[in-house]
C-alpha cells in the first residue's frame, strides 16, 4: 500500500470539513486559509486545491463570497459561512465525532 497516496486522498476527503471549520472562525480568503492549513501538521494541501472546493461549497450555498479592498493588490475575495453552511458544519462535525469514536472503539477492540 502506498502510504503517501492514502494520506493525500484522506486530506482531500477532509477538505470540505476543514474549510468549513476554518470559516466558522470568521470570514477568510483562499490564500489565508491555505497559509493556515500549511501550519497545521498533516493538513498541508496543494495550494490550488482550496479554490475548487470553495467554488463547490459556494455553489452548494454553504459559503458566500464578497470582495474586500486590499492595501497590497487587487481586492481579496473573502468567504464566509451561510446559515446552511453552519447547519451542514454542525452535522458534519457531529458525524466526524461519531466516526472518530467508532474508529477508536475498533482500534481498542472495545464493544466488538
Amino acid at each position: 500500500m502506498n502510504l503517501e497516496n492514502w494520506q493525500t486522498q484522506l486530506r482531500k476527503g477532509l477538505l470540505d470539513i476543514v474549510v468549513l471549520n476554518l470559516l466558522n472562525r470568521g470570514p477568510s480568503h483562499g490564500y489565508e486559509m491555505v497559509q493556515t492549513m500549511k501550519r497545521i501538521e498533516g493538513l498541508q494541501i496543494r495550494e490550488g486545491n482550496i479554490y475548487p472546493v470553495l467554488a463547490r461549497l459556494e455553489t452548494d450555498g454553504l459559503v458566500t463570497s464578497y470582495p474586500q479592498p486590499s492595501t497590497d493588490g487587487p481586492p481579496r475575495k473573502y468567504f464566509q459561512l451561510t446559515t446552511a453552511g453552519q447547519k451542514a458544519l454542525e452535522d458534519m462535525n457531529r458525524h466526524w465525532d461519531q466516526l472518530i469514536s467508532s474508529f477508536e472503539s475498533i482500534r481498542k477492540g472495545a464493544g466488538l
Binding site: G30, Y31, I45, R46, G48, N49, P52, A55, P74, P75
Partner: protein, 370 residues
C-alpha cells in the same frame, strides 16, 4: 508603444441568427411579402455587422473595445482603472445592457471582466478569455511590462492557468471561471512574495508544483459535475434557436399553403407522396425537436455521462448535421409547395455534404490526436 493585448471574441449566435435572418429575408423576398424582407434583412445585416465579434485591445495606455466593424466602441484610460475582476453578475443576454451596477457589453457566452473606475463606475466587458484580459490590464496597471523575470513568470503562470482551464472544461462547473481567476490571484500573490533575487525559473516551478496538478481541480470540483452538465451549451442553445425559427416559419406561412402538400419526391423530382398541410408543415420541426431533445438529454443521463463527456464534440457535430439536414428538408417542402419547383435532389446533396464533412472532420481530428 506596441499593442499589449488584443483579442476578438466571436459572436457565434449573432452570426447564426444574422445569416438565418438574411436567408429568411431572401426567401420572403421571393414571395414579395413586403415589407417583411426589409425588416428581416436589415436586422440580419445589423446583427452581422454589429455582433459578429467583440474586440478588446490594450494599447498606448488605453483599454478599447468595439463591436463588429466598429459601429460602437469605447475607450478607457488605464490610469482611470482602480482594479478589474471577473464579472460576478448573472447572465443578462448579449449586446449592450445595463445590469444592476453598470453597463455590460458582450456578444457571446456568459463571461466578462468588470473594470472598476476611479469615478466609481463599473464597466463589464464580455470576453471568452477573462483571465488573460485581467492579466493584461493588471500588467499595465501595475507597470510590470518589460521586466524579464515578470515576463518569464507570466509565461509560467499562463501555461499553468491554461492547463487548469483545460482540466476544468471537462468538469464544466458553473464557477470554473471564478476558480481560474482566484488561482490567478493566488499565483500573483505568491509572485509578489518573492524577492527580486528569488525570481528564478526554479522558484516559479516550485510555486507551480505547490499549487498541485491541474487534474485535481476537476476532481475536487467534480461533485457538482452533474449540475454543470445540466446547463445548455452555446451550440445547443443555437440549435434550439434554429428549431424555434423553423416552427416560426411554418406557423407564419401556414395560411398560404395548400390544404395538401407534397412531402416526398421520386428520383427524377416528381411528387410521390403528399400529406395534410398540418402534418407536412410541422412534421419536420417536430421530428427535429425529438432529435434535438434526444441529443441534448442523452449526454446528460448518469449512466452514459462519463463516456459522453469525451465525445462532446462528436455530439456537437451530430447536432449541426441534423440541423442542416432538417433545415434543407423544411425549406424544400415549403418552397416546392409555394410554387418554386426546387430540385429535391438538392436536399440529398446538402445532406450528403453535411454528413461527409462531419465524417471528414472526425477522421482529421482522430489523426491529429495520434
Amino acid at each position: 508603444m506596441n499593442t499589449q493585448y488584443r483579442h476578438s471574441q466571436p459572436g457565434y449566435l449573432m452570426i447564426v441568427i444574422g445569416v438565418i435572418l438574411l436567408v429568411a429575408a431572401a426567401f420572403v423576398w421571393v414571395y414579395g411579402l413586403q415589407p417583411l424582407e426589409i425588416i428581416l434583412g436589415a436586422t440580419g445585416i445589423f446583427l452581422l455587422a454589429f455582433g459578429y465579434k467583440l474586440t478588446v485591445e490594450i494599447k498606448n495606455g488605453f483599454l478599447r473595445f468595439w463591436f463588429g466593424l466598429g459601429i460602437f466602441w469605447k475607450k478607457i484610460a488605464i490610469e482611470q482603472i482602480v482594479y478589474c475582476e471577473p464579472f460576478r453578475g448573472v447572465f443578462a443576454g448579449w449586446g449592450i445592457r445595463f445590469v444592476w451596477n453598470g453597463w455590460l457589453y458582450n456578444v457571446s457566452g456568459m463571461k466578462a471582466v468588470t473594470v472598476v473606475l476611479k469615478s466609481g463606475k463599473k464597466i463589464h466587458i464580455g470576453t471568452d478569455e477573462p483571465v488573460q484580459l485581467i492579466e493584461a490590464i493588471n500588467s499595465v496597471l501595475h507597470g510590470q511590462v518589460g521586466v524579464e523575470s515578470t515576463q518569464m513568470w507570466s509565461e509560467v503562470k499562463a501555461d499553468y492557468l491554461k492547463r487548469v482551464e483545460q482540466a476544468l472544461s471537462v468538469a464544466r462547473h458553473p464557477r470554473s471561471f471564478e476558480i481560474l481567476a482566484d488561482v490567478g490571484n493566488h499565483l500573483d500573490r505568491r509572485f509578489t512574495e518573492l524577492e527580486p533575487r528569488q525570481q528564478t525559473w526554479e522558484n516559479f516551478q516550485r510555486i507551480i508544483t505547490e499549487m498541485g496538478p491541474p487534474s485535481e481541480y476537476a476532481e475536487l470540483v467534480n461533485e457538482d459535475k452533474k449540475s454543470g452538465r445540466s446547463k445548455l451549451t452555446k451550440l445547443e442553445l443555437g440549435v434550439i434557436g434554429i428549431l424555434l425559427i423553423m416552427f416560426g416559419v411554418s406557423a407564419y406561412l401556414y395560411p398560404r399553403m395548400p390544404e395538401t402538400i407534397v412531402t416526398q419526391w421520386g428520383f427524377h423530382g416528381q411528387p410521390s407522396s403528399s400529406m395534410p398541410k398540418s402534418v407536412g408543415m410541422f412534421g419536420t420541426p417536430v421530428l427535429f425537436a425529438v432529435l434535438v431533445i434526444a441529443l441534448i438529454v442523452i449526454p446528460r443521463t448518469a449512466s452514459v455521462s462519463v463516456n459522453i463527456e469525451g465525445f462532446r464534440r462528436f455530439y456537437g457535430g451530430l447536432l449541426i448535421v441534423f440541423s442542416i439536414i432538417m433545415l434543407a428538408v423544411q425549406y424544400q417542402i415549403i418552397l416546392w409547395n409555394l410554387g418554386i419547383k426546387t430540385n429535391p435532389n438538392v436536399v440529398g446533396i446538402i445532406s450528403a455534404v453535411a454528413i461527409i464533412t462531419w465524417i471528414a472532420v472526425r477522421f482529421y481530428r482522430a489523426r491529429r490526436h495520434n
